[in-house]
Symmetry: D2
Subunit: 379 residues, 4 copies
């Protein structure tokens, strides 16, 4: 009998990429054992997939409600301890809510919900449940992001005075200029994707990252979005001016029509004493800039890094780790929390990140619609 | 008797860096001979400097008015053909104006004037003078910037759909947090530097560069500036949302408190077919991004570059050229114009750039002061 | 009952880094289930470790011989299908040999054996066994290395004419200058590590990589090694001139006293039509150099990559994968081979790589000892 | 009357690239005035060129002998003070010799002579002349190379223990595979280019650079050259193992068939305390590597640089300078020496560099011809 954490999975079947990411991440630190789930709404595909990945089929359920029903019947020592929700966005909220209500810990893909309203309800549900809840903003698990957070927190760069985050992709470019394609992509359909495409999908990553590394709160936003065509209902590009407490200003720049860009997410934080820069596509380098001193490039695995950063590095310096390792670190933090039933919010994103992210999306869209005016973040 | 263009210089004496830049640039293509000027307002320093750089002293004048007076007496074949104005900013306008009125071609450092009003007057003066007038936005002389312009112009990236320029420096950081220092720096004194520090000094470079490479006109701006302290009267950081014709949106990001940054000026232009990126601190690389194709890195001196770009490269690929070479290319374009008495506006920045730059500064400041609202560029 | 491949593991317990690497790699494509092994020679640590990673303890054995004895008693449908040998180097040979003789497939860490003689014996054992045997030269699993191999193989760079591989580390620097430390490091003790340190440990990686990507065979070597101190018996640095068939010359440069280097392994291959370059510390970039054309940077996950490369990429472009993913690709290739009982030698390193690697080590040392003369590779 | 140093030039007319490089370099610090020379052996082209670059024609001579004859007649206060020899290689020796014998300071392009024998004669001539003699190994003028030299000299990296220099170009690739082209290129004709192509042209740069930055002397060499075709008489690629005093080993790698490479010259020096790396194509970055510390990137113009490095930087950090600036620094050093009639050998390469470079070429070729054996450097 394995003593690993019993993990259930909702969604992520077939050739789902997010499914691979979560499965590998869960295996990385020998903490979890996938015991079952609902990987696909169609039974044949559900069971076929489970066989294809070589898992036992006895706890694969025909649907989510059945999973809940059957799992709660099991003795606590066999029951799933945590369930990862990897289903389409609109299902995150009802599934996460019901899981919490039935006593399961939850790992939820982002966006956590489709509206800020739902997010607040989920927060309330969680408060009553006393369970662990994580939202998988994958990038916060990178060792050099954790190092960045620690350096800012302990004052290495002094008081933050300037924030700039970029998240540029190009994948909507081949879609947006084709009338038919843009009408038929689910990501550009508000029914399926909520009120925002670009801000909702990648802007929230940038927003969450800023709050994660600086430990500041974004207080208000002024955005200028771009829809490109009058018949397109969802933003595919947007620049958001931000203001934090203490006169800290900044900008979040996002695009899905930055032609040729892959997943170019960068964070630049400047303080009174130094600046720090990081690029997701080269995630093992953290740049430290100081007035009149040589640029320094910090890398994972060195003893000069903080404990939090070192925790997330498995091999010695020079052995590059990537995005699977970043997600693995988040799963590891969640495992610690489940085992201890307490946790350090630096180790994985929580309901706070999820709720604030939903408020950010709604306020950024509202700012644009009202003519590029300042709107306060609510949460 | 040399047959080079006779160049006079105003300012740039002592250990002026801008003086070195212009002198070297003027020498680069064997086109100019420095025949005299006023290098310093104090006579001893003026004449001492001229001796220290080994120039003849016979046409070093005690002041600007004397220079005009004496030079116009000379036969046309001996008279200065062009005068470079490298004096403090507030002198650019009166000197450039009087030079044009007296029949001299003018090379003027940026900012061209201290107000938009002056800029328009200067434009009028120029129209009546039939002389060559250049504003030295140095960076537009880089070979890969010229290549970028040509590629966009001939449609290599398709219709432009997204613009992003960054100009980050950190040099004001050690000044701004010290009450005494910030009170006594001329760059932060509106009397000496006009209405803007950061936008005026570096924002204009970004603005001009965008219009140079895309051949679009920025139509309106919405800016959020940062003054950091209530007793500081000049912006030291600012983000400017921009809108161009044809639904093209973008952002200009500038800072002089981006601690540790040196001269980090970058331009990213994305079109329907491809994206182009360039970084001033690594000026010999031009990045071409296309959907689903390998990233391409173009470098100077290759036959795949345009004629305009190749003109500005003196050595074969792999021999890095720098900012002196960029300014040299601008001087070369001016020399061609002086000799032909006609010119290609791609080869050096003109009065149009100067006037529009001044409008940009005033409108960016106005936008901020009115509460971050959209203001139209006038020129 | 899981339908995954049943994997046993020898060694890799405690805080072994190589243990983590193999466990994660085995999990990456849902192909393997770790069913048991001997993780540590001390029973308490062996069983303690297994519990700490949450595995069932019923097939953890007290030693290697017991493992063989007990596993062969199991029905074929339960027996370990493959065993990974992660023990100290001198145990690789006897364990791998006995495993093959008892009908197990084997995954063996490098160096495969401690002598070329042993390597040849193992090759013979394998030939009689009809089993799958892999040596884990980790780096050959990187997607862009696989792309490099395919491009060279299909003629993209024309006939190869110049080879240069570098493997520079600095970790022995703090040891070598301290008489006591260098006397007591097992890596510098021929009893424990064989006849070579630097060539044996990292030179073989470079040698194998060259043969992997070019599909050429290195025919002879001339080496100059560096032992630094007369009381040190093992090379810590060495440059090896190489000659392949068809007049192809090259160089393998290795060092463990390249102070400050982490794991700086690079490969440069130049052909008649183009050049290809790759760097392990930035493994997702493959540089294609052609006369008079822009440099191209190929990245994983794009459809322009070969099938072999794409097989080894789990996420879309811009999501960096690292060394765990590289080893995961090798494990995946081995899984395919085990299931099909046939295999493509491009998907994982085989006995051929292992034998040739051992010959390379011995000949490089011999060349140095004979006064830097050419010695033929035997295998 | 200008008080600049009076410079004469031999060669460098027409569209000679080396001519541009020297003219611009001489102008960079306001130290020289070109007063005449022989720019082309054909009179019409000679005088035509001088007019095209706008110089006075009165001291343009019909040939070298006339130049000497006429210049020595001039009073010392008007006579050329230094002459730059930019003619084809075989003319360097006779011209430089006669110039020294007639009391002129000399700036000589590399290779200084065509044989080591000539080089020694020239050294003797110089000793008797008491004049300044410089060989223009251009790359030693880069600020970060000068910083590297100073850092090694003052012990920042401790005792040097490993040297690696690479100089890879690809320009001969399109020539070497075409029988006719390779037969008709002057660079591959021993009559015109001496005994070596690749080692002679670029290997010497690497050799000189190593001795410049480390202040060590290369004592012996073992080389393996590549001629590619049996009808080709000149090396187009070569790897040279080197040994310096104190057990320091290293390698010089050169190629002109590294397809697609432009001018990829790199230097890596590792010491007991740290390593230093530099790349010519990105010359403003100097990388400092230390065990267990963040990588540091030093850049020009900062006060943390040595005086020698800062001398060679004209603008503040972030304003990239290039190869013209590097040569300008060398010309500046020569100007100082001419004015003081004494000099610091760190500021420009001298006869010592020239003589040792010629010995290196001959010994590297000899080593190859004798079957890749060790040969001592003579000088």
């Amino acid at each position: 009998m394995s003593s690993k954490i019993r993990l259930g999975i909702l969604g992520g079947g077939g050739d789902s990429l997010i499914g691979v990411l979560h499965r590998v991440a869960s295996a990385m630190f020998d903490q979890y054992q996938i015991v079952g789930g609902v990987f696909n709404p169609v039974w044949e595909e559900n069971i076929g997939f489970v066989k294809s990945i070589g898992l036992p089929t006895n706890r694969v359920y025909k649907d989510f409600d059945t999973l809940i029903e059957e799992e709660v019947k099991l003795p606590e020592s066999e029951r799933m301890q945590v369930v990862s929700v990897l289903t389409p966005n609109f299902l995150h909220f009802p599934m996460a809510k019901k899981l919490l209500e039935n006593g399961f810990n939850v790992i939820c893909e982002k966006p956590m919900t489709t509206t800020y309203e739902e997010a607040k309800i989920l927060r309330q549900t969680l408060q009553m449940s006393n369970k662990i809840f994580a939202v998988t903003y994958t990038y916060t698990g990178y060792p050099m992001i954790r190092q960045m957070k620690e350096m800012i927190s302990r004052g290495d760069i002094g008081k933050v005075q300037k924030i700039d985050a970029q998240y540029y992709q190009g994948w909507i470019n081949p879609i947006i200029h084709d009338k038919e394609k843009r009408a038929n992509t689910w990501r550009l359909d508000p029914e399926k994707s909520g009120i925002s495409c670009c801000i909702g999908d990648i802007g929230t990553h940038a927003f969450d990252m800023i709050e994660y590394v600086t430990e500041l709160k974004v207080e208000s936003v002024l955005s200028d979005l771009n829809y490109m065509y009058s018949d397109n209902k969802m933003d595919v590009d947007g620049t958001v001016l931000i203001r934090c407490s203490d006169n800290v200003k900044g900008v979040i720049r996002t695009s899905q029509i930055a032609t040729g860009e892959e997943n170019n997410f960068t964070v630049q934080i400047y303080g009174e004493k130094a600046g720090l820069k990081w690029e997701q596509e080269n995630p093992n380098h953290l740049y430290l800039l100081e007035d009149g001193k040589p640029l320094r490039v910090l890398k994972p695995g060195h003893t000069y890094n903080s404990e939090l950063s070192l925790d997330g590095t498995k091999l010695p310096p020079g052995h590059p780790e990537g995005i699977f390792d970043s997600m693995g670190n988040i799963y590891r933090g969640i495992a610690k929390a489940i085992k201890k039933e307490e946790f350090d919010s630096a180790e994985f994103p929580t309901i706070v990140d999820g709720v604030r992210g939903m408020s950010f999306i709604e306020k950024a869209v509202e700012s644009h619609q009202k003519g590029n005016v300042w709107i306060k973040i609510d949460a």
